[in-house]
Amino acid sequence: MILPAVAVLAGTVLACFLAILPGLHIYNVMGLVAMLLYALNGGGVASMPEVTIPFLIGLVTGWSVLNTIPSVLLGAPDESAIFTVLPGQKYLMSGRGYEGVMMIGAGSLVGVFMLVFIIGPLAPKFLPVLRCVLNPHLHWILWVIITFILITEWPKGGNWGPAGWRKFFDAWSTLGAGLLTFMLSGLLGFLLLYRSPVSVENAFQNIMPAFVGLFAIPWCLLNAVSGAEVPKQIVREDLNINGDLLLRSGIAGGIGGGFAAFFPVVTGGVGGLLAGHATAQRDERIFMMSQGVSKTVYYTGALMLFFVPGLYLTRGGGAWIIRGLYTPRTCDFYLALGSIALSGAVSFLLLSPLTKWTLKLMKKVDYRWISVFALAIIVALVFSITRWTGLFVMIVATGIGLLPVLFGSRRLNCLGMLLLPIACNMSGIGEPVAAFLGLL
């Protein structure tokens, strides 16, 4: 009883440090932990599931709650780019970064509550039915999601001036950039899947350099060159939210995060997009809290599904990593739920002091330097695992990841790297496409 609790707390505390670094993904860290555990097992030291499982759950839950801090406070955008970022960053630029973080954190707490008290208890009864019926249909669901991502991007230009081609092209510059981003990242995905330049020994971290390049590096670069000055931040304890707003955020984020956790390849961002559209909520507070709910339900929920009796579904990088180490038993489900509850509560309690500490740090150190520091760590991590080849993949991916930043289209289009090759594979056309591309 004591040992798992200590392990959860250790995972959560480690997640605190990891979450502060912008761009560092918890799955990369879990991958390193897994490699360490494999090495220990190889050396004859057996890892105890009642320690490793709560520790890894603590890592994921803690990170999913606390990574709100860099996403709001360390992503100060230029005026020209503010439209492409979350409302959380608008809070930062109006001096209300603390309020923004805590609002998303409140959403995360709702997400933890939903996982432990609603989704968890209902999952063993309903999710096996859902999986049984939907399994043969996952491929078209993925194609429909891809269609939705591509077809619903809104043209941001073309709002003024006389009618005609000029107006049309102005509007379509963002849409075209979005389509191009999706296609290029899809091609990169095919390349990595069928002829990965990353060595076989590091196949575990095969897509890590590309993911870092597509999402983390453009963010750090954008911050590093940003001309924006972060205004003085005011710490306000009153969040101006109520039960109704929390309930509506919980529904929106729970559906989005749950959808993403259950369906393969669908990420939290895609789930959030779908839920945001489906629930048609205009209030920025609901949007922000629902993103908190969504990411917690997505990351932690995907891991939880691995332990659901009768389901044992492997979704998300965390579950795949644990799967290589261990086969779950029914009793582990309750251990997992308890670990999620403990880690979620502790993480939320840590959120406020950590946010205040980060704000103090930002007063002393320019956020641009923090981004440069984070960039150095990420690049070092990529290099240490995948060497020069990984760095090259990362640079190529960064080029693609910068497209949406420069043209103001959705960054979600970068997910073409996963969505396109996997949808093709699930429909049975992956190999012909790869052959057409000369990859076979």
Partner: protein
């Protein structure tokens, strides 16, 4: 309705076609994707293509530095008066962009009873149309301009202009001499015609009638859903020239009808693919399924929301701005 509701409705229509489900079971996603695309296509045509080519005779482009409502009122009133003379006029009210995420809101009211146009500037709003605190201009005169015409309102009497592309109007004299105001004349016009839907379905049927059936069904469901709102659609273009008024049961952006539609469609899709399983491992009844998946969760949500709102003082928070022309 919002795009996702139309989109998923198209997918739901495809799920009602046995050949689509059978093809999907064999790895062919094409009917479901066709349903999804056809479901959202009428709006895609309007918002991503047609509106950029729709010409406007008058473009009202207010200045962000000088918030003077009078020139706007004058231009709108002049357009109505010119239409009364017999010349159809298309007029565009441009938005006022202040920065990447801030827009100055203004409202234009056409009052047929008083024979005047009233215009007033409002708060700064975000792209989510949320008003920024303390952003109403200190001095907010109402610009008033008279027109000499009998006006028949085609949509709502007050129009709010704020984000992205501003609204446009077609002012046109009808056979009894009234000036009809046609809101967003480029939207829900020819693209929202059942005839066009049939035409597209016919084209697809050259490949296979099954694709044609899915496309027609998805297109029709889009038009039916839109007909539940205020604006309506030009149902039989090119036979009909005007939009048939909607049933006014909802606004297109309302959260509850949109979410209910999306959820209901998801349940229909699930049920249809479940029903296509020859020897299902789990046995479900339709009524029980709908109770568990829709009625009970919605009832719990409604009850919880009622309790939470009651605990918070009895009124749900709204984002509407407390000003009007």
């Amino acid at each position: 309705m919002k795009g996702i509701a139309h989109f998923i409705s198209g997918v739901a229509v495809a799920s009602f076609c046995p050949w689509a489900v059978e093809a999907a079971q064999n790895g062919n996603a094409v009917y479901f994707v066709l349903g999804a695309v056809a479901g959202i296509l009428p709006d895609t045509i309007d918002f991503k293509f047609y509106r950029f080519f729709y010409p406007h005779d008058v473009r009202v482009e207010p200045c962000s530095e000088q918030l003077d409502p009078q020139p706007i009122a004058d231009q709108v009133a002049a357009a109505i008066s010119a239409a009364a003379e017999g010349t159809p006029i298309t007029l565009k009210l441009s938005t006022i962009k202040l920065s990447a995420d801030n827009w100055r809101q203004y409202r234009v009211g056409i009052d047929p009873g008083e024979g005047e146009v009233r215009v007033q500037f409002g708060p700064v709003v975000s792209t989510g149309q949320v008003p920024q605190p303390d952003s109403l201009p200190a001095d907010r005169p109402v610009g008033v301009s008279k027109f000499s015409a009998t006006v028949k309102q085609g949509y709502e009497p007050v129009c709010t202009v704020d984000i992205f592309d501003g609204p446009s109007f077609l002012f046109k004299r009808n056979e009894v001499g009234e000036v009809e105001t046609d809101f967003l004349p480029w939207h829900r016009n020819w693209s929202h015609s059942l005839v066009i839907g049939a035409l597209l379905a016919g084209l697809a049927s050259l490949v296979t009638w099954k694709a044609g059936a899915v496309i027609f069904g998805a297109y029709v469901i889009h038009i039916i859903e839109d007909q539940l709102g205020h604006m309506g659609s030009n149902l039989f273009f090119p036979v009909t020239k005007k939009r048939a008024p909607g049933l006014k049961w909802m606004h297109s952006g309302d959260a509850l009808p949109n979410f209910t539609t999306v959820w209901l469609c998801c349940l229909f899709i699930f049920w249809n693919i479940y029903a296509a399983i020859e020897n299902p491992v789990y046995h479900l009844g339709f009524i029980r399924f709908m109770m568990i998946a829709m009625v009970i969760p919605f009832a719990i949500f409604g009850l919880l929301r009622w309790l939470l709102i009651r605990a918070d003082g009895g009124e749900p928070e709204t984002l509407s701005t407390s000003w009007d022309v």
